[in-house]
Each structure stands twice: as C-alpha cells, then as structure tokens.
C-alpha cells in the first residue's frame, strides 16, 4: 500500500479538523467570533461520517499500517510518522467521533454568550483532533506527540475560566500530574528506541514476539512495561496518579464530558492496549495492571458514594470505571476492555451533560446535592436520560453497561480471589453512588424545602437532543458486542503488514472474546445492582436525613473521604517539598551562597583597589613621578644583571 491508496476518509479525519481550526482561528475569530462553532460542527459531522466509513472498511478487513514521512533519523535509528488503522483504533475512534460530535453540539448551546466562546471551540476541537491523532498513530513517538497535545488542550480547557483561582489550580494540577506521568512515557520512549531501534508498534510487536518465541525477553522490557503503565496511570487517572481528575471538573461541563467520556482518560487505556504485547511478555506485569485497576475501581467507587458535588461524583465514577477497564486489560480481556471503554463513553457523556443541565437550571457551572432535589417533573427529559444512563452504568439488564461491565465482573469471577471480590464490590458501589445521585437530584425533597429558592426548567432543544441520543446510545450499546469483538480480533490477529516487502501475520497476546448473554452474569449482575440501588434508596429516600447526618456526626470520617484516605494530603506534602527545594536552590543556594561568594571576590578586589586609590590622589604629575621612578628601577635592575 502506498500513501496514494490511503482511503480519502482517513485523510478527512485530519484535514477536516485542521482546516476548521485554522479557518476559525485566522478568519472567524477576528471577524465573527460568535460563528466559530459552525466550521467546527461541520468538521465534527465530517469526522463522524469518515470514522464510521473507516470502521466499515476495517470491518471488511481493510486494516492498514503505513509510514508517510521520516520525522527524524540519526545514527542507527529512525522514526517515521504514519497511520495505523486497525480494529481497536476504529472501534474507539468511532465512539470518540460520535460522542465527541454530540458533545460539540451540546457545547454550542451551553457556551452561547460566554465571552470566550470562540477560544473555547477552537481548543475544544483541538482536543478532539489530538485524540484522533493519538488513536491513529502508528508509533510511540507520534503517539507521545498527540498524548501531550491532549494534555495541553485539557490544560487550556480546565483552566478555561481562569479568573477563578480554583480553575487555575486545577488546570495546573492536571498538567503537572500528567507531566509526572509523561516522565514515565518519555523514559519508556528512550528505552524503546535504544532496545528496538524503531518506534513503530508493528515492528516492535514483531521483535518482541520473535524474541519471546526464542524463550527470552529483552533486558529492559519489564522496565519499559512498568514505565508505560505509570504513564497510563496518569492519563487514565489510576492510583497513584488519579488525583487530578476530580479537580478537573473546574472546566465548563462539555469539557468534563469530553474529557471523561471520549478524549482524555481513555488515552491511557488505549496506550496499554497498544503496548499489550510488550506488557504481556513480562510475567507479573498484567497482574499488576489488574491489581491497580481493581484497587482504584473499588476505592474510588467508595469515595464517589460520599461526594456531594454532582460532577465530582461522576468524576470518581470515571476513575472507578477506568479501573474496571484496567482490570479487564490486566486479565488479558482486550475485547472486553475496548467494549467497556466504548459503552462507558456513551453513558458517561450522557451523565455529565445531564449534570450540566441540572447546573444550568440553577445558573451554575455545577451543582451540589444540597441545592437540588425532586426535579424529575421540572426536568423531565434530563431525568429520563439520566435514568437510562444510570441503569446502563449500574449494569442493569438489558442496558449497554450490563454487557460490558458484567463481562469484566465475569472475567474477575473466573480469575477468582481478590479480583472477584473487587469486581462484585465495585458493582454494588457503582449502583449505590449513581442511584444515590439520582434520588438526591431528581427525587426527594425540593430545594425550597431545604431553604434554597430555585425554579428549575428544562433548557432548550440544543441542551436536550444530544443527551437523548447519547442516552439511547448507552442503552443500546450492548448491541455493538459482535462488531467490537470482530474488530478487536482483527487487530490482534488479522492485520497483515508487509515489512520490507514480506507480508507478515502475527498473533498478538490477549483475547478479543466478549462473553454474551449468560444466566450467571445476569443473576449476579442484577443482584449486585439491586443491592446497591436498594441501599441508595434506603439511605436517601426512606431515611432522608442520613446523607447529611453522618457528615455532622463523624467529621473524622468526612476528613478521611475528603482527603481520599489521606492520599491527597501526602501529594500535597510532596508538592510542597518540590516547591521548597526550588526556593532553596534559587533563593539561597544560588543567589545568596554561590553568587554571593563569587561577587565577594569582586568586592575584595574592589576593596584592595580602594586602599590603593586612597594612596594616590589622582594627580597627573605624581603618577608620572611614580612612572619615572619605576622606569629607573627597571633600568637599574637591567644594568645590574
């Protein structure tokens, strides 16, 4: 295959967003900033159609992996930029394009009238473009490029309302935490290039598989795998680097929706999918991934059940579900992980936009469970969509989440032990926190009864239509199961790539199989969801005061949850330590001690000069006397010799 044979839809994935952004930046922003969204929405439509067409092509076995141009080559290695269009790529890409486009549509209504409207849309679309680039990259360097671009765009969006100090802090926290994760990615990149001399995924897979079949793994492979997992933990908000994500809700709600559902946090999972042959080749690493995922999923599900801010509950829920994806990956179930990633994208986008509608109804960027309540009549559409998405999240049959989440729980049960326990507990926890949120927001007592005044009403069509589509998508996403299975399977086993003119076929590790409808899963999943939802009902509806009573009665416990079991405090100490080190180096060590010492040699010389200058009074004749005397002395000395 040559670049000329690349299908036009693959080019459109890049051409449409880039031209929309450039047109918006250079022409509309100065002239008609309130029109900036039109070319961008058009580009979204183009990307959505193109990605579906591309997925159809790949489904019919049209994957390809192609280098376009040489980015840099020095010494004995070179890095080429190209495209890799295969099953996992198009599966995630289609979800990103569809969900992302709907969020763009929502954002056009939500952000209307904001002074930064055009800036928002340009950066928002850049975010989208960066994710497309990340998914289609065919090598680690290119992926790193878009990985960082995703980070930059998220920084600008989280800090979009930069007048607020909390937004500035959250943006900085997100970027710096991701930077700490990139520390791992960059080191892994260096190691990969030193070890394999290329960065292209396909060649690396080949080398790893050939070496593994020979019975040995490259020396640095465990380190590479560990560093990549570290990087994924930052981007996909896993323990120990998850803490930036809950604060990231400071951005406008569409940002949160896009970030949690489609563009940012899925990048880490996708990196691990791409690196799976490397990680699977090292014994123990997959289990580590599963353990990180299970732990994060459980801990954040617990914290989500204690939060009061709607968007914060959803943020911890995202952390928890990403943990589930990691768990699935760690158990080798790549198909299941991709499936849940996609279903999660639909329901999480719907949930965030619902939260945005609730906030919009009280004219705030976000809402607190204390400020809302009993709104199912006032916001009927939002309520219906939220309910659908919540049922999907909780894994109730026959909604989308049932198929994907329960496949993960099923895999954990088959593995047994702590993973099984974690899977079951996360199922209960998910149902609990989402139904608690549902009951507190849409059922129960109205805010007037809590002493707050609010007259909520449903916002316009642009606020509702995208959510309806997303919620319906999340309800029916289970139907995608066979498609995704086949696509991932094609990615793992079917992608023929010619290396030096020789067509090569290889079987990558991991399973694409996604279990379908099973009675065991149905029973267990429904039971867990029922337990969680029942507990939520009991503690919010039957005993309506419980949710705030425990906060008053046990402030210790509140503190434990507020600091995420103390982890945030520890991170705060580390951050303070680094700042303190910088201050010491810059103000004391460099300025006072070292530069002071150097300057004091100068002062000493000046002091000596001062002594001499006091001896001379600057008289010309005196100076000449001394000169003559000196010359005489020299002559005399020469004569004596």
């Amino acid at each position: 295959m040559t670049p000329a044979q690349v299908p036009i839809v693959a080019w459109l994935l890049f051409l449409a967003p880039i031209s929309a952004i450039l047109f918006g930046f250079f022409i509309l922003r100065p002239l008609k900033p309130e029109w900036t969204h039109w070319p961008i929405l058009l580009s979204c439509a183009v990307v959505a159609v193109a990605s579906v067409a591309l997925a159809a092509r790949v489904y019919a076995d049209g994957s390809f992996d192609l280098n376009f141009y040489r980015w840099a080559a020095v010494g004995d290695w070179g890095v080429d930029f190209g495209l890799r269009i295969d099953g996992p790529c198009v599966a995630v890409l289609t979800m990103v394009a569809l969900v992302g486009s709907l969020i763009h549509v929502y954002a056009a209504s939500y952000m209307k009238g904001d002074p930064g409207f055009s800036r928002f849309f340009l950066v928002f679309h850049l975010f989208f473009l960066a994710m497309i680039g990340l998914l289609t990259a065919n090598n680690y360097v290119q992926m790193y490029l878009f990985w960082e671009l995703v980070g930059l765009a998220s920084y600008l969006l989280i800090g979009f309302w930069y007048q607020k100090e909390s937004a500035r802090k959250a943006a900085l926290k997100a970027f710096l935490t991701n930077r700490v994760g990139d520390f791992g990615f960059l080191l892994a990149l260096l190691l990969i290039l030193t070890t394999f001399r290329v960065a292209q995924f396909h060649i690396i897979y080949l080398k790893v598989l050939v070496l593994a079949s020979g019975g040995h793994t490259p020396e640095f492979l465990p380190l590479i795998g560990g560093l990549l997992i570290w990087a994924a933990c930052a981007k996909s908000a896993q323990f120990p680097l998850y803490f930036w994500l809950p604060d990231a809700m400071e951005g406008p709600t569409p940002t949160s929706a896009l970030m949690h559902a489609a563009t940012m946090v899925t990048a880490g999972v996708f990196l691990l999918i791409r690196s799976w042959p490397l990680i699977a080749a090292v014994p123990g690493l997959p289990t580590a991934v599963a353990a990180i995922g299970a732990f994060t999923a459980l801990a954040s599900a617990v914290i989500a059940g204690t939060r009061k801010d709607l968007k914060r509950i959803l943020a911890y829920s995202t952390v928890s579900h990403l943990g589930l994806m990691m768990l699935a990956l760690g158990l080798g179930q790549i198909g299941v992980a991709v499936f849940h990633l996609i279903v999660h994208g639909f329901f999480k986008a719907a949930l965030f936009l619902c939260a945005g509608n609730v906030g919009h109804a009280i004219h705030q960027p976000t809402a607190n469970v204390d400020e809302v309540g009993g709104w199912r009549k006032a916001l009927p559409w939002t309520y219906a969509c939220f309910l659908l998405a919540a049922l999907s999240l909780a894994g109730v049959f026959p909604f989308g989440g049932f198929f994907s989440k329960d496949a993960i729980v099923d895999a954990a049960l088959s593995r047994g032990g702590l993973f099984a326990a974690a899977g079951l507990l996360v199922s209960i926890g998910s149902a609990f926190y989402i139904f608690r949120m549902l009951f507190l927001t849409f059922h129960g007592s109205r805010p007037e009864q809590k002493g707050l005044s609010a007259h909520p009403h449903e916002a316009g069509f642009g606020f509702v239509a995208p959510i309806v589509l997303l919620a319906v998508g999340s309800a029916f996403a289970g139907l995608l199961r066979p498609l995704i299975e086949r696509l991932v399977d094609g990615g793992l086993h079917g992608l023929p790539v010619s290396v030096g003119g020789v067509a090569l076929q290889m079987n990558l590790p991991g399973s694409a199989m996604i279990p379908g409808f099973e009675w065991r899963a149905l029973l267990i999943g429904t039971a867990m969801a029922a337990i969680g939802a029942g507990a939520a009902y009991a503690l919010t509806m039957i005993d309506a005061g419980w949710d705030w009573r425990w906060r008053v009665s046990s402030p210790r416990l509140v503190r434990v949850f507020d600091t995420d079991f103390g982890w945030k405090t520890l991170i705060g100490w580390i951050a303070d330590g680094v700042t303190g080190l910088g201050n010491f180096a810059g103000r004391v060590l460099d300025k006072k001690w070292w530069d002071g010492a150097i300057e004091s040699t100068g002062s000493a010389a000046l002091g000596a000069g001062g002594l001499l200058s006091d001896a001379s009074r600057g008289r010309l004749n005196e100076a000449l006397w001394w000169m003559a005397a000196g010359a005489a002395l020299l002559l005399a000395a020469g004569g004596l010799r």
Binding site: L149, F183, L190, G602
Partner: protein, 481 residues
C-alpha cells in the same frame, strides 16, 4: 571576496555604515541585516540540499607564528551563522521603534560580525580574536541600553566571561607550543593541531578550554553572570546573548575542546555528564524560585543548555545531533521569550510576576505567543524544543551512563513546574493591587509579524526536523566515540 569572507565582512561594513549614518541608522542596519541573511541563506542552501557537504576553505599563507586567515564552513557552522543573521534581523525589527542612537545599531552589526567570525574561523588565533571581539559590542549593549542596574551587570558579564577566556587562551597557546615542539612548525590551524600529542599537560589544557567555554555556555557552577546580564540587557541584547552567544560555548566545546583533547574528554565523561545533568536540573529548580520574568527565562536557558551539554558529552550520534539542533532551537524559542518579556517591559517598565495579571484579556495576542513559546520551551512534542531534548536524552541513554538520562527527564518534567505557574500569574490571574497591566497594550502588526515568523519556525522544526538533522550530522561524525 569569497562568500565565507563576505559572511563576516558584510556585518562589519554594516557596523561602520550604521555608525556613520546617524538618524538613518535603523534603515542602514535593516539593509545590512537583510544582506547578511541573504548571504547566509545562499551559503546554507547547498549544505542543506546535499546533506551537509562542507564549504570551501578560504585560506591564506601562514604569517608570523603560523597565524593564518583560515575560514571554513560545514553544516554546524553555517546553521549557527544563519541563526546569527536571522536573529540579528529579528533584533533589528524588534528594536525598530526604540529611541536609540546610531551606536545601538552599529553594536548589533558588530556583534553579528564577531559571532559569524567565531563560527567560521578555523585558525585558533583568529577564533580567539573573534571570540573576544564579541564581548565589546555586548558590553556596550548591556551597559548603555540596558535597564536600571545595567552598569554593574555589564561589568560582571565582562569580567566573568573575560576571565574565563584567559584560561582558554592559555590552553590554546599551550597546544600551539606543544605542536611546535613536536613538529618544529608554528601553526594555529585547527586541522593541523588535531591529533597533537599533548602529553601530561592534556588534562590541564582540557580544563582550561572547559573553563573558557563552560563560562559561556554557561555550565553550573560557572553560570552566575548569566541571570544578571540577561535581566539587565535590553530585549534585543538578551535575544542575541541567549540566542547566539551562549551557543559559542557549546560550539567551542564541539569544535575545539573535544577534537583537541579527545582522550581526556572520554576519561572525564562521567564528571562532565554529571555537571551537565546538574545544570539541567539545577537551572530548572532555580527557575522555580524566580519572581522576575526575565530571570526565570534566563535560568531556563541554563537548564536547556544543560540538555545540550548532556548530548555533547554523551559522544553518541544522537546526542551530538540533538545538541546541535537544540542550539538552533533554543535560539529561536528563548529568543521569542526574551522578546516577549522585552515587549512587556517596554510597555510597563516592570518584569515581576506579581506586577501583572489578567493579560490574557488585555493583550490576547501577547498571551497567545507567550503561551506558544512557553510550550516550545518546555518541550511539547510537535514543537522544536522537544526534538533536540529528546535526541540529547536518547544520546545519553545510549552512552555508558544511562542514569543521567533519568536526571535529564526529571529536568524536562520540572520545566513545566516553573513555566506554567509563571504564565498563569502573568496572563491568567486577576490583576492584583499595584498591577501595571493597564499599561500593556496588545502587540502591533510589526511585533506580531516577528513572532509569527518565530512560531512558524518552531512548528516547522518540530514537525519535520529531518532536513536540519541531515545537514548537521556530517559535521559531528568525527566526534562520535
């Protein structure tokens, strides 16, 4: 007159012409800068096209003590000459509205002349003359047209770097004398001196060269002149100082120190790499504590040059190519940053982080360019900074001491820690009491044009660095261990 001679004579003629043309000096200066840029482009084109084949030697018969007029140019030299000419033009454009005397314009032309001479000379005596000649115009640029504390900064700059050069001169003389003793022939020609057996004096000679070049780079712990000099210099002066003059140090190490004493360099590699890694991390740590925007950029230069040295001392093809590319990249990126800080200072006469706030609204173009340059500076892939840093780190990773790459990557991580809070304080945070943001109007067409040029270059080199790498690599082939 050959092309190589013209490359340094044209700016020299420009300096004289500027000094004589009084009120019209800025036009004279513009004309000569354009001519110099055209010349260097003409010289660079065949090198870029044919992947780094060198340019002919413009030589002359050796005179007294073997001093000769020997010039040569390869990819490395010509890239730096091109950078000099380019940044000089940028400086002329950036200073266009300043109310300064003809001497200001003449000094910049003279500086360009001396810098081009340094990069082209292949006779060490000539090299040394050009090397010291750079100090004179820069001394005046800082001392006459700098900000409040300029005299002290100019003096510190001069004494510090001059003291360093003395060691370099002693080392050079020692090499020439040793060569004369061995062969009976006086020569200062670099090619002839290569391979001279330095005997037991070798470590001392290398140390002398290292001190001379290390001060200029600057390598920690020889760096303390830099923050003061940069802070007090006028904006265009900082651009030339950071953009080109610091590169003289790295260039000297690449061109003179490593070829003359390769065995010592190899033996000292762990120590040198350690110093380079310390520069990278220490510069970043110090930058975190700065409250003056210009000092912050100055310390970030120390960190970036630390990466550069990591690449140089790694002795691998990747590291050397990365160091060479990073020199160009750092010139462009830090040049842009210093210009932007200069524009701020021109408008408000303040540079402190806490003196501003809310500039993203008051001056959106300034905010955009500043953000863009900061991103290039902290090594966002896709922009130029990343390529050089990545290659340097990759080089050190493949050397015998990969552990220093970890330190380097920590430096990369820290870059965001100092740059972004500063950006937020100036552009995002609300205006505090005593803020001077009200005085800051947005960039005009001329200023925007300058920065578009620089930003376009950042993006271009970031996305397609291969032609540059291909042009630079052959010059460095001999240094790979």
């Amino acid at each position: 007159m050959s092309l190589l001679t013209a490359l340094w004579v044209v700016p020299l003629a420009g300096a004289v012409a500027c000094a004589l043309s009084g009120r019209a000096a800025r036009w004279t200066s513009l004309a000569f800068s354009l001519a110099a840029l055209a010349l260097s482009a003409a010289a660079l084109r065949p090198v870029l096209a044919s992947s780094g084949a060198g340019l002919a030697l413009a030589g002359g018969a050796p005179g007294a003590f073997g001093v000769s007029y020997a010039l040569a140019a390869d990819g490395l030299s010509l890239s730096l000459v091109g950078l000099t000419a380019f940044l000089n033009l940028i400086c002329v454009a950036a200073s266009w509205d300043l109310d300064v005397s003809a001497g200001y314009w003449a000094c910049f032309q003279a500086l360009a002349c001396a810098l081009c001479g340094v990069f082209l000379a292949r006779d060490l005596f000539l090299f040394y003359i050009f090397w010291e000649a750079t100090l004179i115009p820069m001394f005046f640029i800082i001392g006459l047209w700098g900000s409040d504390n300029r005299r002290r900064a100019a003096l510190k700059f001069f004494i510090f770097t001059f003291a360093g050069s003395i060691f370099m001169l002693l080392a050079l003389i020692a090499v020439v004398v040793l060569h004369q003793r061995a062969t009976g022939e006086w020569t200062w020609n670099l090619a002839a001196l290569r391979g001279t057996d330095l005997g037991p004096a070798a470590p001392w000679i290398f140390l002398g060269l290292l001190v001379g070049f290390g001060v200029k780079v600057p390598m920690v712990p020889l760096h303390t002149w830099l923050p003061d000099a940069h802070t007090e210099a006028p904006a265009a002066g900082s651009v030339m100082l950071a953009g080109v003059m610091l590169k003289m140090g790295v260039y000297g190490i690449l061109r003179v120190a490593l070829p003359l004493a390769p065995t010592v360099a190899a033996a000292w590699m762990p120590l040198l790499t350690l110093l380079a890694a310390i520069s990278a991390v220490y510069g970043a740590l110090c930058a975190m504590a700065q409250t003056d925007l210009k000092r912050l950029v100055a310390y970030s230069s120390i960190a970036h040059l630390g990466f550069c040295l990591l690449g140089v001392f790694s002795g691998t093809a990747q590291g050397l190519a990365g160091a060479a590319l990073l020199m160009i990249n750092h010139g462009i990126t830090t040049g842009a940053l210093f210009l932007l800080v200069g524009f701020l200072y021109e408008r408000a006469h303040k540079r402190g982080l806490s003196d501003f706030g809310g500039l993203a609204e008051r001056a959106p173009r300034l905010a955009f360019f500043f953000g863009f340059s900061i991103m290039a500076s902290i090594g966002l892939p896709g922009l130029n900074g990343f390529v050089g840093e990545f290659l340097c780190l990759s080089g050190i990773w493949q050397s015998s001491l990969p552990i220093f790459a970890v330190l380097g990557v920590i430096g990369v991580t820290l870059a965001a820690v100092y740059a972004l809070p500063a950006y937020q304080a100036v552009f995002w945070a609300p205006e505090g009491p005593g803020s001077v943001s009200a005085k800051v109007r947005d960039l005009g067409a001329r200023e925007s044009g300058i920065l578009w040029t620089l930003c376009a270059l950042m993006l271009w080199i970031g996305l397609a660095p291969q032609p540059w790498l291909a042009a630079l690599a052959p010059s460095l082939r001999g240094l790979v261990r």
